[in-house]
Symmetry: C2
Subunit: 312 residues, 2 copies
């Protein structure tokens, strides 16, 4: 595959389009699987307005179904939302050859397990994007801030495939870190996501500053963070304790930020309730770890999500 | 005072008007202090449409300020909301003589403390109403269901004044129980109020059936109840454990019920955040008892309340 691997991106949302576009810039041969935006993307590709410089991403192939792919992909990058209704193994199956690495560029914890079970012979890679990016319209992506990505072989270790993706991303100007413990990396990201995403919705549609500005909410955010770190410790992928205060301090000096979960809620889209809270809760129960704040937020978020979708 | 004690009701909301009206029916000489509804109540009194039979309550005196009272009240019944902005000692001070008992017909826990501190020589009585009643308009109260009341001397014990109120209420057809441990009685009522009131708001405006119908929320409700019972035990006023399941079972067979806190929220009125959660949390901190679900709900409710009021 040399330096121009064959990549299929599944899910042309903002995050997937951005990084696939960067990989394409770096020389990879990137095709995409779209749903609702098929017509526009197949005609025009994807325009990416970026604080790092605008660019245009024209995929090699634009498909409605991965079965249309004529080749053997080196990578399938999954960048869909993590939702109960999205059967990732079923969607990608026809595009997986023995040499294909499956990279999950998604939020949450414990999302690799069922993919690894469905494709036990394929390498699984976890990818975590730290980026403010949104899709303003079909085929139109706006990158507002940040952009760092962390990738790692699942469940742990190193691999050539991880090295290559990393090299390509760096070549395209993306700060990319490799992590030998991608499970810990997911916990670490969850330290931020687990409090801020749910509370932004449950708290009535509030941004990061509105959350941290109210003392009882600041305390709650911190408690949720502590539960995530505790869980990471108890399950063998410890996140350093000082990550909590660092997350709080960094968020306090950030511009007021509206979480992606709140955007989903306001647009009546299903929220990633399980990826962000439900999976962590399940892990906690299996491990016998008490995480009452996560449980509390989960119950409420579950209810709000249910109502929000049914109101559609 | 014999059987026709002099009573001043402060706060002519639905609950206060209903029970003061009943006391008046039983022969007590009841006056009222009103604010916004002064004109209507002083002209027409209060009409009470009740499942127990409609009746009309014409107070002896209708006052804007308790200082107008010309007599020595045997009781001052406080039936205002429990809110930071309502200075109960200041409001009732001019109506308190050495013989006046102060009865708090209000929600929540730990609400007697500052009244007892302000009037150390007066008897304090706690009153808890289990009733569905609402004010449809100034001077118009609708009693839909239930109506039992529990009263008791604060902090504990018995008294002639409690006996008399109880006798009068029973004479007027109100099921009235005396409780020698009114603090425990407040905890017991909080077992229901602490989960259902906040979650009805936080969960996006849901009734009791919508809450209990979602398993993660049922579990959350139960956990909050367990924390309240734990707190009652740790602070020496234990509520029996079986109250939890009984509350859940009873609520499951109740008609879907919209909590009073949700009505307050929807009408942009301040919610009783402290009476229902904040005071319990303070007690828990002082006693070194961990109540993470209460803490979690408190943080969110505090935020929603703040936004809700400021939107006014």
């Amino acid at each position: 595959m040399a330096d121009n691997p064959q990549i299929i991106l599944v899910g042309t949302g903002a995050v997937g389009s951005f990084y696939a576009g960067k990989l394409s810039q770096a020389g990879a041969r990137v095709s995409v699987v779209c749903r609702s935006d098929y017509d526009i993307v197949s005609r025009n590709g994807i325009n990416i307005g970026s604080v790092w410089g605008d660019f245009h991403f024209m995929p090699e192939m634009v498909m409605r179904n991965i079965a249309e792919y004529n080749g053997e992909a080196d990578y399938v990058i999954v960048a869909t939302k993590v939702l109960p209704g999205i059967d990732v193994p079923g969607i990608i199956k026809a595009g997986i050859s023995p040499k294909t690495s499956i990279m999950l560029l998604q939020n949450g914890v414990d999302i690799e397990g069922n993919i690894a079970a469905a494709f036990p012979k394929n390498e699984i890679i976890g990818g975590l994007a730290f980026i403010c990016v949104s899709r303003s319209d079909y085929g139109e992506v706006v990158h507002q801030d940040f952009g760092r990505i962390v990738i790692g072989r699942y469940p742990s270790g190193e691999s050539e495939k991880v090295d290559l993706i990393s090299k390509l991303l760096i070549r395209a100007g993306v700060p990319c870190e490799k992590d030998r413990d991608v499970i810990a990396a997911r916990w670490k990201k969850l330290v931020w996501n687990a409090p801020f995403n749910p509370i932004s919705v449950i708290g009535g549609g509030v941004n990061t500053q509105e959350m941290l500005g109210a003392e009882p909410v600041y305390n709650l955010v911190k408690k949720v963070m502590e539960e995530v770190v505790l869980l990471s410790e108890k399950t063998g992928h410890p996140v350093p304790r000082d990550v909590i205060q660092k997350n709080l301090d960094d968020t306090l000096v950030m511009k007021p930020y509206k979480t992606s979960m709140l955007l989903d809620y306001e647009n009546r889209r299903p929220m990633e309730v399980d990826a962000i809270l439900g999976n962590a809760l399940k892990i906690a129960r299996d491990a016998g770890v008490s995480v009452p704040c996560i449980e509390c937020l989960y119950g409420i978020l579950y209810l709000l999500n249910k109502q929000n979708i049914s109101r559609k």
